[in-house]
Subunit: 478 residues, 2 copies
Amino acid sequence: MAEKKMVEAITAMEEDFAQWYTDVVKKAELVDYTSVKGCMVFKPAGYAIWELIQSQLDARFKATGVQNVYLPMFIPESLLQVEKDHVEGFAPEVAWVTHGGLQPLQERMCVRPTSETLFCDFYKNDIQSYRDLPKVYNQWCSVVRWEKETRPFLRSREFLWQEGHTAHATAEDAEARTQQMLNVYADFCEQVLAIPVVKGRKTDKEKFAGAEATYTIEALMHDGKALQSGTSHNFGDGFAKAFGIQFTDKDNKLKYVHQTSWGMTTRLIGAIIMVHGDNRGLCLPPKVAPTQVMVVPIAQKKEGVLEKAEELRQILADKGFRVKVDDTDKSPGWKFAEQEMRGIPVRIECGPKDIEAGKCIICRRDTFEKIEVSFEELADKVAEVLDAMQVEMLERARAHREANTFVAKNMEELEAIFAEKTGFVKAMWCGDRACEDTIKEKLSVTSRCMPFEQEELSDTCVCCGKKAQKMVYWGKAY
Amino acid sequence: MAEKKMVEAITAMEEDFAQWYTDVVKKAELVDYTSVKGCMVFKPAGYAIWELIQSQLDARFKATGVQNVYLPMFIPESLLQVEKDHVEGFAPEVAWVTHGGLQPLQERMCVRPTSETLFCDFYKNDIQSYRDLPKVYNQWCSVVRWEKETRPFLRSREFLWQEGHTAHATAEDAEARTQQMLNVYADFCEQVLAIPVVKGRKTDKEKFAGAEATYTIEALMHDGKALQSGTSHNFGDGFAKAFGIQFTDKDNKLKYVHQTSWGMTTRLIGAIIMVHGDNRGLCLPPKVAPTQVMVVPIAQKKEGVLEKAEELRQILADKGFRVKVDDTDKSPGWKFAEQEMRGIPVRIECGPKDIEAGKCIICRRDTFEKIEVSFEELADKVAEVLDAMQVEMLERARAHREANTFVAKNMEELEAIFAEKTGFVKAMWCGDRACEDTIKEKLSVTSRCMPFEQEELSDTCVCCGKKAQKMVYWGKAY
């Protein structure tokens, strides 16, 4: 059977999660590979998810006073080198432009891997007085990092993102904005992507090159691996001192600004796939589903069937749903399998008998539940089902995370857990870099964050047994 | 006076149009220069105009079935070279990436100046059957062209644009899409930007590198120079043959696809400035004004004034207008000058006496007309004034173009006109490249297009006197 073939072509996630992921991104037609090594094409189905992420995240930004700008994609080498930690972090992985037209450049430039240096160079002239503060700017763009190993959405040489860059009069204002944007990210992940996240601070080892503090939201994928899903950095006045960004304050004194930056990327699409997907393919949360409802006419050649399907589409479109009719000449079974692969949240089945009885069938992508509903009640029921999916997908992901979050009180326990399982492990830490290095080396796991919601699991560091300072989440990361 | 100083800082357009333009883009805070030569920063006021252009143009695209995608920003050199005319057109003006991280690349890559070659490389694998056609894809991105002389919005080394790339089963379908998108562009310019355009075809000399036919919309700026505002290209099957993009048609035969591409860029912002601006600064058509209405409280320290201003703002915001209150501690006169500089379409003045009388003043940016209106009628009146501005700005621009469009029947007339005036000149042409070259060399003007609305001005070519084939618009171009 044709529909079976389509499903069989996906590897089961229990068998080989990495291959399942690759199969889904290809079969759901989200991306394609290109002649440009490590770079990919976002096909319509993949890019449309990004458009929905972008518009909803942008609205949340603007509600907090963010203004969008656009800065150049090139950074002159001398500019990248101004802040010492920053250049060390990024120089090994940038793409260098050396020629413009037929001439070699006087100074080579890299394609931005991130734009802190460009924003600093801009703010240096744009900020003069306390009246010019705060600056709360953001840009939507693509960035390039010359990765050796790449995977669609998760790690590619070019990816799409937003990068916020702000400047403030005081350290307190900068810290407040850093936390505010982390909260925007966490709320967005949970309410829009239906992905629960752990909010916390990165250890010094894992923080951003040039930051005083990096905050992160960490999500757990279906295979138990962690995905860093958004970060927010407080730079203090480090960049300001390196670039000379000063302002005259109300007291007439010249002071350095305090800065932040924060970013989310197209890897969120990878998170959606790996949190909600199943062996039939992608499963999209309704709020980021380019098509929320697909009407599938059954026995569509019979009189009145296609007309009814179109009528139902129109009713739902008028209510503001993103809805289509699949009137191709494929069999209903093939269409079902295809739409399940593409993660369309709701399918409506409607054939001659249904029409006669004045009803149709709603089928949920997440639970495969089938609900009979009269035409009159269809729009209300679809709204109800989509709302329920959005909520329940988050709940299921949260339950999965809870079931895969463990506690270790000493190295034996930590080793035993990671020998058997993949998930988050909560453990106490003394705060020494040496212990963090030891755990990473021995177990091939990294500290994901020091969560804001601390617990006192024990008094002693899981590694060295000295007095514990912080509870840390450990995990294998993408 | 402070407010005078702000206005005096702009050069009058009659005195030095180029300097007036530069003054406006700086003083209206649309852009800033950067350390990256030839590249600029889009500041919030400038980028917000682009966001409004983008969202409205994108909605028009999607209404015609366009789907958005995203392709890599890099083009391997071998890929750029596949189509002969295309590489000759672009190779001299691209930026080359030669190193990734610390290693030299095996093959250098350019930063895309346009993406025909990438789309062809993608379509080659993505299109197999007539069922896969048409492909009607578009991407929003930035592109790089290594220009020697640059001007904000009009010509910069990096600019933002959209590029549509389509593939069709037949030559007729490709031609229809090429024309359809030109019409979308023309309608968008007139209805949204209030800029009238001449639609026509480029001569072979002026067409896009690799195209069979290039269609264009040409607008006339306030100084009489022409600005190419959007182009739509029909490639026939030239790229398809060069790249091997074939499909199996319904008759089971293998055929080459027919392709198109079409683009509009951030230079449209330059067009808005140069068509609608005046000696007080920018004047934005309401549909692309990030702030459509600014409420200016008069004597704002008096009791109830700021509260009333905020109340008016809320009334207008609830009706869907983009509206703000200027409650800074600047004088009203300063605020008026500043908002005129920034091109905000409508200003509302409201002070203690107005409040007592239950009314306020609406002031139009384009005509400076002042209209007294009661609070109850404010929202309706604002809607009416914004609608009127949108229509009348287009009418005024059209009248200006008509007044600056001339006719020449022979070289003496053509020379005489361009010696005295800058504008469009309509003249007959025999179709020979030699005549086009002669006119360009002698008069430093270029053929803008062969308009779709042809007229028979005379029987003979303006240059050689041989039999005329086409009427051409000539002009000095940006």
